[in-house]
């Protein structure tokens, strides 16, 4: 029988609050590294030099073409076996493995998103920047990337939403994020189902909050945000019976 009391007892318990925090910070750190790595890979891939573009292509091919779970297991079990070195094994703790695996994997996906974003900006923009005496690095930073951001942010938001949920894979190597916590505590007290519901509630909370944040960021990147657009919104009564208050947004 499903026990709601177990759900309520655990919803605000220390293990789950801690686990939610773990899920959140793992996601944020891996996403930030992924974005930076992705930018680097995107610039390398777009380079005319094959010494830069070929390694980037290979990297993206490798990490997008193999499952993240396999990458995690290779890092966690395969690499230490290969080295037979205590220092390597100690260094590759569950946290480090998860951060490395998620960042490297995310970098490959972000690289393609970044590339699409940068390529969406008209080539005339970089030309105009150069004609004004900017070096390409400055033109990229001040002119191209801010415009590319509008194209990059929506898929980046989806990536982060995915990231929040994909961290559940960390449970397979015993890391106590939300899913791992639910399974571990649940298997002791035979309440796995209830605790997975608790974990789900936290995932929904995190992704919902992120949804609002993403909306806010996208609005800020809209160049029209400084213009006050008067939109007359008809009230419910106006729409239904033809008279009533109108309000401006």
């Amino acid at each position: 029988m499903f026990r709601w009391d177990v759900v309520w007892q655990n919803l605000f318990s220390t293990p789950f609050v801690t686990a939610a925090w773990t899920t959140l910070w793992l996601s944020v750190v891996a996403q930030v590294i992924g974005v930076l790595l992705g930018l680097l890979l995107a610039l390398m891939r777009m380079s005319r030099s094959p010494f830069l573009s070929l390694p980037a292509r290979f990297y993206i091919w490798l990490f997008r073409g193999s499952p993240l779970l396999v990458q995690i297991l290779i890092l966690y079990t395969g690499i230490p076996e290969l080295f037979h070195n205590q220092a390597v094994t100690t260094f590759l703790s569950a946290y480090v493995v998860i951060l490395i695996a998620f960042s490297l994997n995310e970098g490959a996906y972000m690289a393609e998103i970044m590339r699409a974003g940068i390529e969406s900006v008209d080539a005339g923009q970089m030309e105009a920047a150069k004609a004004l005496g900017m070096r390409s690095s400055l033109g990229m930073r001040r002119i191209v990337l801010p415009q590319a951001a509008r194209v990059i942010v929506p898929p980046l938001g989806n990536e982060f939403n995915n990231m929040l949920k994909t961290t559940s894979l960390a449970s397979v190597i015993g890391l106590l994020e939300l899913t791992g916590t639910a399974q571990t505590i649940g298997s002791i007290s035979f309440t796995t189902f209830e605790l997975l519901i608790v974990a789900t509630a936290y995932y929904l909370l995190l992704t919902t909050l992120w949804g609002y944040t993403q909306n806010w960021i996208e609005k800020r990147l809209d160049p029209n945000r400084n213009q006050k657009v008067e939109v007359e919104t008809k009230s419910l009564t106006t729409r239904m019976v033809g008279f009533g208050a109108t309000r401006s947004k």
């Binding site: 004609a131 070096r135 390409s136 400055l138 001040r142 801010p146 400084n226 213009q227």
Partner: protein
């Protein structure tokens, strides 16, 4: 640093050859623009006139020849008689003294008119923002757009965008202005307002190289007119010589087609 030759020449180009793959776009072109001179380049599409203009600030690499702006070799340095492409920082420095106005304006859409103008003097020349902002307002007034300082490019007409683009280039205090078909992308009724600003600049003594299809502008404003066709300069001289006493058949054909 390359050797700086002092002379009354602002632009000096010798035997410029530019190829795109197998296609030769510039086939040994010479160009000389004196300080304060307005040189207008005319010619049919594909004649190489835009490419020539783009070579002057090294937006295009050249295959051979030499281009000097204000006595300084553009885009290359000479190593034992051979030309090597210059360091990016040097190319950027040379470009910062040359204004370029694009056919498609290329304003920065994420910045308003004022920010478009302020951007490069602050970021490239390291000037103080307050001082540049003041200068930018003066430039906006000069191009007749004082009220549009806060307007974003997509809220401006083509003519207004192009005038902001001219103000943006002028904010760098260039010694030379290059105009690449600055009015070709405009609706006919908006051409006049941009040409007016260009005329005013010419009267103030700005050194200008102008690629255009506006024959009226060429006739009235140019000190020197160059007619290009099929990758070479066919004919050049004062407007009176080129338009009044046309020497070459190709020029005559072109001018005839334009007049129709």
């Amino acid at each position: 640093m390359s050797v700086v030759i002092q002379s009354d020449e602002m632009v000096h180009a010798e035997q410029i050859v530019k190829r795109f793959g197998n296609l030769t776009v510039l086939n040994g072109v010479d160009l000389s623009v004196k300080r304060g001179q307005v040189v207008v380049i005319i010619g049919p599409s594909g004649s190489g006139k835009t490419t020539l203009l783009r070579c002057i600030n090294h937006l295009e690499k050249i295959d051979s020849g030499r281009i000097y702006v204000d006595g300084e070799l553009v885009g290359y340095r000479e190593v034992k008689g051979k030309l090597m492409e210059d360091r990016e920082a040097n190319i950027a420095r040379v470009r910062s003294g040359i204004g370029f106005v694009f056919q498609r304006f290329n304003l920065f859409p994420h910045m308003n008119a004022l920010e478009n103008i302020v951007e490069a003097p602050v970021q490239v020349l390291g000037h103080k923002k307050e001082e540049v902002t003041e200068r930018a307002h003066a430039l906006l007034a000069k191009v007749g757009l004082s009220e549009k300082a806060k307007a974003f490019p997509h809220k401006l007409s083509g003519g207004q965008q192009q005038r902001v683009a001219i103000a943006r280039a002028l904010a760098m205090n260039p010694k030379l202005m290059l105009f690449d078909e600055a009015t070709s992308a405009l609706d006919p009724e908006l051409v006049g307002e941009v040409l007016k600003v260009m005329r005013q600049l010419a009267e103030e003594g700005m050194t200008m190289v102008v690629v255009t299809h506006e024959m009226g502008f060429a006739r009235d404003v140019a000190d020197h007119v160059i007619f290009m066709d099929k990758s070479v300069i066919v004919e050049q001289g004062t407007p009176e010589q080129v338009f009044g006493h046309t020497q070459h058949e190709r020029t005559r054909n072109f001018l005839g087609m334009i007049a129709e």
